[in-house]
C-alpha cells in the first residue's frame, strides 16, 4: 500500500467511525442469503496512488465511489416521486397519500403557466391550466398545496426554473405561517435556466438577467435557507431531448461551471454557495454506461471545483444527484413492459450512487400516471432497496474492468466537450449560438433513424408487437379545475390589499433596475399575495423576454 493510499484509507475509517456514532447503519450486520457477511466497502488488495487518485474512498475526494462514507448502508436514497396536477387541493391529497405510502420526500410538478410565469387567467394559459402539474397563482394556492404537511420534517423538491425565486419565496412564506423558520427548510428548486434554453423550453427572460436571478438566490439562501439546494443542474431534460450519456454529463457540467462562475463574478465565495448545488441526471437504458456515467460525473466535478474554482469545503466538491428514470424510453405500446424498463434503469441509478430517485410510471407515454401506476413505480424502488441487497455495500461495481473502462472513457469524452465549450466562450455563449441544441437534435435524429431501420430494437414497438388491447385507464384532469382556479384567482384579486400589492410590485420593479438582491423584494410581493404572473410581468418589463435561436 502506498503511503498516500494508507493515509486516505485511515481517513475514511476515521470519518466512518465518526459518522456511525451519530448515524448507525440500517442493520447491525449485513449478510447475503447464504449468511456471507457483507462488508461496508471492498477495495483492491494492492492500494496504490492511481487508485486513490481515480477512485478514492466513499465520501472522499474525488468521490468516484460516492459522496457519503457509508452510502446506502447508513441511509437509503430518498424516494421522491414527482407529482402534481390540477388544483392545489388535489395535489395536496396526492402528496399525503404518497407520504403515507412510505415516500420520503415531496416533489412538486407545476403546470406550464406557473412555470412560464403566467396566471391561470392569462390568454396564454388556455388549455394548459393544471395539466402537467399543479396551478399556483398566489401564496393562497401554496398554502392549500402544503396544508397539513410539516415543512420542518419533509424535504421538498420543486421543479421550477424561470420563476424559481417566486415559488421559493412562497414556500418560505408558508413556512413562516406554520411557524417554521427558513433555516430549517430542506428541499430543492430546479432553478437551472440554461437547460431550459437548450432542451426544456420554460424560459422567460434572456440569459443575463436570468443568471442574475439565480445568483441572487444563491446569495440569499447561503445566508437564510442554508439547507436548501439552490439549484438542480439538470442533464435529465437534455437526455430526454435526445442526447447520449456523454453529452448529458458534459452539457450539465458545462452549465454547472457557468453558474459557479456567475456566482463568483457576483462576488460570492465559492464555499458559501457551492455546497448547495445539486444535480439531476437521467437513468437510461444502457445499464453499465449509466453506472459509469454517475461515477465519472462525480470525479470530474470534484476536480473542477477543487482545481479550477479552488473550493476548500468537501461539500463544495461533491456532486450530489437526483435521478429520474428515462421518460423517453417508455413505449405507448404494451405499457406494462415499462415497469421492467424502469426497474432496470432505477437499479443502474442506485448502483451509480444516486442521492434520490424518481421512478417513472408505466403509463407516462400515454398520460399523467394514475394512482395505481404511481404506486407500482414507488414499489419498484422499495423492492430494489429492501429485497435485492444492492444497497448493502458501497459502490459494488467498482473494480469491474468494464465499468472502470467505461468510467474512464466517459470522463475523457466529457472533457473533450468541456474544452470545446470553453473555447466557445462557455456554456452561456454556446447556448446562445445554439451549439448544444444542435448536438442534441442531431443525436435524437440518429436515434430515430436507428429505431426506424430496426438497427435499434425497442421491444413491443419495432419488434415483438402484438395486437394491442384497450388502453388502460388513464388519469384525466377535470376540465372544470381550470375554471375553478380562475374563479379563485378572481376572488383573490378582489379581497387582497391592493395598495400593498401595488407598492411591493413597484419596489420590486425599482430594485430590478439596480443590482440589489431581488429575493427580499419578491418575498414582500408574495406575502402581499401578488401573483406569479404579476411578479413575472414586472420583471418582463425590466428584463425583456428571451427569443429562441
Amino acid at each position: 500500500m502506498s503511503r498516500k493510499a494508507e493515509e486516505q484509507y485511515l481517513k475514511w475509517q476515521e470519518e466512518t467511525t465518526k459518522k456511525l456514532e451519530r448515524f448507525p447503519e440500517r442493520k447491525p450486520k449485513f449478510t447475503t442469503s447464504s449468511d456471507i457477511e457483507v462488508d461496508r466497502l471492498y477495495i483492491p488488495d494492492e492500494l496504490d496512488d492511481e487508485y486513490v487518485e481515480k477512485q478514492g474512498f466513499p465520501g472522499q475526494y474525488p468521490y468516484t465511489r460516492g459522496v457519503q462514507p457509508t452510502m446506502y448502508r447508513g441511509r437509503l436514497w430518498t424516494m421522491r416521486q414527482y407529482a402534481g396536477f390540477g388544483s392545489a387541493e388535489e395535489t395536496n391529497r396526492r402528496f399525503r397519500y404518497l407520504l403515507e405510502q412510505g415516500q420520503t420526500g415531496l416533489s412538486v410538478a407545476f403546470d406550464l403557466p406557473t412555470q412560464i410565469g403566467y396566471d391561470s387567467d392569462d390568454p396564454m394559459s388556455v388549455g394548459e391550466v393544471g395539466k402537467v402539474g399543479v396551478a399556483i397563482d398566489s401564496l393562497e394556492d401554496m398554502e392549500v398545496l402544503l396544508e397539513g404537511i410539516p415543512l420542518d420534517q419533509v424535504s421538498t423538491s420543486m421543479t421550477i426554473n424561470a420563476p424559481a425565486s417566486v415559488l421559493l419565496a412562497m414556500y418560505i412564506a408558508v413556512a413562516e405561517k406554520q411557524g417554521v423558520p427558513s433555516h430549517k427548510l430542506a428541499g430543492t428548486i430546479q432553478n437551472d435556466i440554461l437547460k431550459e434554453y437548450i432542451a426544456r423550453g420554460t424560459y422567460i427572460f434572456p440569459p443575463k438577467p436570468s443568471m442574475r436571478l439565480i445568483t441572487d438566490i444563491f446569495a440569499y439562501c447561503a445566508e437564510n435557507v442554508p439547507k436548501w439546494n439552490t439549484i438542480s443542474i439538470s442533464g435529465y431534460h437534455m437526455r430526454e431531448a435526445g442526447s447520449n450519456a456523454v453529452q448529458e454529463v458534459a452539457f450539465t457540467l458545462a452549465n454547472g461551471i457557468a453558474y459557479v462562475e456567475a456566482a463568483i463574478n457576483a462576488g460570492l465565495d465559492v464555499d458559501d454557495f457551492a455546497p448547495q448545488l445539486s444535480f439531476f441526471f437521467n437513468g437510461h437504458n444502457n445499464f453499465f454506461e449509466e453506472i459509469a456515467k454517475f461515477r465519472a460525473a462525480r470525479r470530474i466535478w470534484a476536480r473542477i471545483m477543487k482545481e479550477r474554482f479552488k473550493a476548500k469545503k468537501p461539500k463544495s466538491m461533491q456532486l450530489r444527484v437526483h435521478t429520474q428514470t428515462g421518460g423517453s424510453t417508455l413505449t405507448a405500446q404494451q405499457p406494462d413492459n415499462n415497469i421492467v424498463r424502469v426497474a432496470i434503469q432505477a437499479l443502474a441509478a442506485v448502483l451509480g450512487g444516486t442521492q434520490s430517485l424518481h421512478t417513472n410510471s408505466r403509463d407516462e407515454a400515454l398520460a399523467l400516471p394514475t394512482e395505481e401506476s404511481a404506486r407500482i413505480a414507488l414499489r419498484t424502488q422499495q423492492i430494489i432497496a429492501h429485497e435485492t441487497g444492492v444497497a448493502d455495500t458501497v459502490d459494488p461495481l467498482a473494480g469491474s474492468y468494464y465499468v472502470e473502462h467505461l468510467t474512464d472513457t466517459v470522463e475523457e469524452k466529457v472533457m473533450g466537450y468541456l474544452d470545446k465549450i470553453e473555447k466557445m466562450g462557455g456554456a452561456v455563449s454556446a447556448v446562445e449560438q445554439g451549439y448544444m441544441q444542435r448536438e442534441i437534435h442531431q443525436q435524437a435524429y440518429e436515434t430515430q433513424k436507428a429505431i426506424e431501420s430496426g438497427e435499434q430494437i425497442v421491444v413491443g414497438m419495432n419488434q415483438y408487437r402484438i395486437e394491442e388491447e384497450e388502453q388502460p385507464e388513464l388519469l384525466r384532469v377535470d376540465p372544470a379545475l381550470a375554471e375553478k382556479q380562475k374563479q379563485r384567482l378572481e376572488q383573490l384579486r378582489k379581497k387582497r390589499d391592493h395598495a400593498k400589492v401595488e407598492q411591493t410590485l413597484a419596489q420590486l420593479k425599482k430594485a430590478a433596475g439596480t443590482d440589489e438582491n431581488l429575493m427580499p423584494y419578491i418575498l414582500d410581493c408574495v406575502r402581499a399575495y401578488a401573483t406569479v404572473g404579476e411578479i413575472c410581468n414586472v420583471l418582463r418589463d425590466v428584463f425583456g423576454e428571451y427569443q429562441a435561436v
Binding site: 426544456r200 420554460t202 431531448a241 435526445g242 413505449t331 405500446q333 400515454l366 437534435h441 388502453q471
Partner: protein
C-alpha cells in the same frame, strides 16, 4: 411539369416545451423531400393559422405533450375554417390518449400519430392526403376558351362574322378524330369556333340534323384538365370523355355530359402551352 414540393408547418401550440418529436419529424419530412417550416415553441392557435396562411402550406403538424390538445387542436381548425383556409390538412402528435383521438378527428384533425409511429408512415400519410386535398381545391376555369357553333359550311357562315360583324379570323384547323373542320374567330379574350362536319356520321352532323345550325357548346379554359376531370367526376358529374383527347391546335379537350349540366354541352379545354396560346394569331 415539375412536381411542386409539399409545404408543411410543424407547430407547437400552447406552452409545452418538449420539441424533440417536432424537430425530428421536421427533419424527417425534409429528408422525404418536403419543405418544412418549424414555428418554434409557445405558439397560439391564431399565430399558427396566420403562419400557415402566410407560408401557403399544404399541411400543419401540431405537437403537444402537455395534455392541452383537446383545447388547442380544435381551435386551430376553427380558425382555419374562419379564415377560409380549411383546405389545409391538419395532423397531430404527442402524448395523446387513444380515447381522445375520435374527438380530435371529429373536430377535423385528419390523423393523430401516437408515440412509436415511424416518420415514414407520417410522411406517406401527408403525401397521400395532400394529393387528395389538391384535387379538391382545383383552380376554377380561367375564362371561356370559346363558344362552339355548329354550321353546315364554314365558307357560307364566315362572311357574317368577318364582313358584317367585322371580327378577325384567327385560323383554321381540322380535327380528324371528331370529323370536323373548324374556324376560330377572335372576340376580345375569347373566341367563336365554327364547326363544320366533314362526315355525315360525325357528332356535329348529327347535331345539325336534329337541331339545325346553332350554338353547340361552351368551352372552359383550364390549366389541369386531368385534375378537373377527376374533380367533376368526384362531384358526380357524368362525363362524355373520361380521358382528355386531342382537340384543335394541339389542345386537350373533354366533354361533360349535358344530362349533368342542365342541357348545356360543356367542354373543358387545356391549350397546349401558354406560348402557343398567345401565338395563335400567327398560325
Amino acid at each position: 411539369m415539375e412536381k411542386e414540393k409539399i409545404r408543411v408547418l410543424i407547430a407547437k401550440p400552447g406552452l409545452d416545451g418538449h420539441d424533440r418529436g417536432a424537430l425530428v419529424i421536421a427533419q424527417a419530412l425534409r429528408d422525404e423531400g418536403m419543405e418544412v417550416i418549424y414555428t418554434g415553441l409557445r405558439q397560439t392557435p391564431a399565430q399558427i393559422v396566420s403562419s400557415a396562411i402566410q407560408e401557403d402550406v399544404d399541411c400543419i403538424g401540431l405537437s403537444s405533450l402537455s395534455g392541452a390538445h383537446n383545447e388547442l387542436f380544435p381551435e386551430v381548425i376553427r380558425l382555419l375554417k374562419e379564415q377560409g383556409a380549411d383546405d389545409i390538412l391538419v395532423v397531430g402528435g404527442g402524448v395523446i390518449p387513444e380515447s381522445d383521438i375520435p374527438y380530435l378527428e371529429e373536430q377535423g384533425v385528419a390523423k393523430i400519430f401516437t408515440p412509436g409511429t415511424s416518420t415514414k408512415e407520417t410522411a406517406d400519410f401527408i403525401r397521400e392526403q395532400v394529393k387528395k386535398k389538391k384535387l379538391n381545391r382545383i383552380e376554377a376555369p380561367r375564362q371561356i376558351d370559346h363558344i362552339g357553333i355548329a354550321v353546315r359550311s364554314i365558307e357560307e357562315s364566315l362572311p357574317l362574322y368577318r364582313d358584317v360583324l367585322g371580327l378577325k379570323v384567327q385560323g383554321y384547323d381540322t380535327v380528324p378524330s371528331e370529323k370536323v373542320k373548324v374556324a376560330f374567330i377572335e372576340i376580345g379574350e375569347t373566341r367563336i369556333e365554327l364547326l363544320e362536319p366533314t362526315d355525315p356520321e360525325s357528332a356535329i352532323a348529327r347535331y345539325i340534323e336534329k337541331n339545325g345550325e346553332g350554338i353547340h357548346h361552351i368551352a372552359f379554359q383550364v390549366t389541369d384538365i386531368e385534375g378537373h376531370l377527376d374533380h367533376v367526376k368526384q362531384k358526380q358529374v357524368r362525363l362524355i370523355h373520361e380521358q382528355p383527347k386531342p382537340g384543335a391546335h394541339d389542345s386537350l379537350i373533354a366533354f361533360l355530359h349535358p344530362k349533368s349540366t342542365g342541357g348545356v354541352l360543356m367542354e373543358l379545354c387545356q391549350p397546349k402551352t401558354p406560348e402557343q396560346n398567345g401565338g395563335r394569331e400567327h398560325e
